[in-house]
Amino acid sequence: MKVVYFAWVRERIGKAEETVEPPAEVRTVGDLIGWLAGRGETYAHAFETPRVIRAAIDHTHVPPETVIAGAREIAFFPPMTGG
């Protein structure tokens, strides 16, 4: 699945998007955050405080317990500061 990152999540990881293939036991958005955080120092830094990370599946906000099966694009980003 395609994963995209924005703002300081993107900067800390050092890339805007990538394709990942997490193992089957990674079922939810929260699981995916935990799995990504284990991929290296940059990821651990980006996801060091999971409760502040916001997520969207296919352009819709989702809570961490959301199942990721069937998602085309999952986004991770900090709390929004537009307007």
């Binding site: 703002a7 300081w8 980003f77 709390p79 929004m80 500061t81 537009g82 307007g83």
Partner: protein, 155 residues
Amino acid sequence: MTVPVTIRLQEADFDTAREIAAMTAGRTDVGAVVSFGGVCRGGTDGDAIDALTLEHYPGMAEAEIGRHVEEARTRWPLLGVTVIHRHGRIVPGENIVLVVTASSHRQAAFEAAEFLMDYLKTRAPFWKREESAAGTNWVDAAAHDDDAAARWIKS
């Protein structure tokens, strides 16, 4: 007639008067137009900034604003909605965002504009990064913005 809805994300500036005129031209059903303009401030708490850079999530930003506009239309009898949000580098004094709402009477137009702005601040995928003499840093989300959006949640 169908209610005109305009949603635009753009780097370029916009002309508020022209956007209002475009919504109301040739119509006699509108009795109230409310516009809100968000402008780049030169400083926050006394710290001068040189510019803001707004990052956004293309595709989701349009979709999310569209969902809020539809929600506003179910809550108030609106006759027109325009939302324009800029991205890219913006210097103090320049426009950032415009919301225009039209209705037969003022209450719906006022409330819908406020509702849309409260949700734009907390749910539309935009992020501000400040440039100042001290360097660049991402703007923290404000708890009072979450509180402002929360008051519209129907119990």
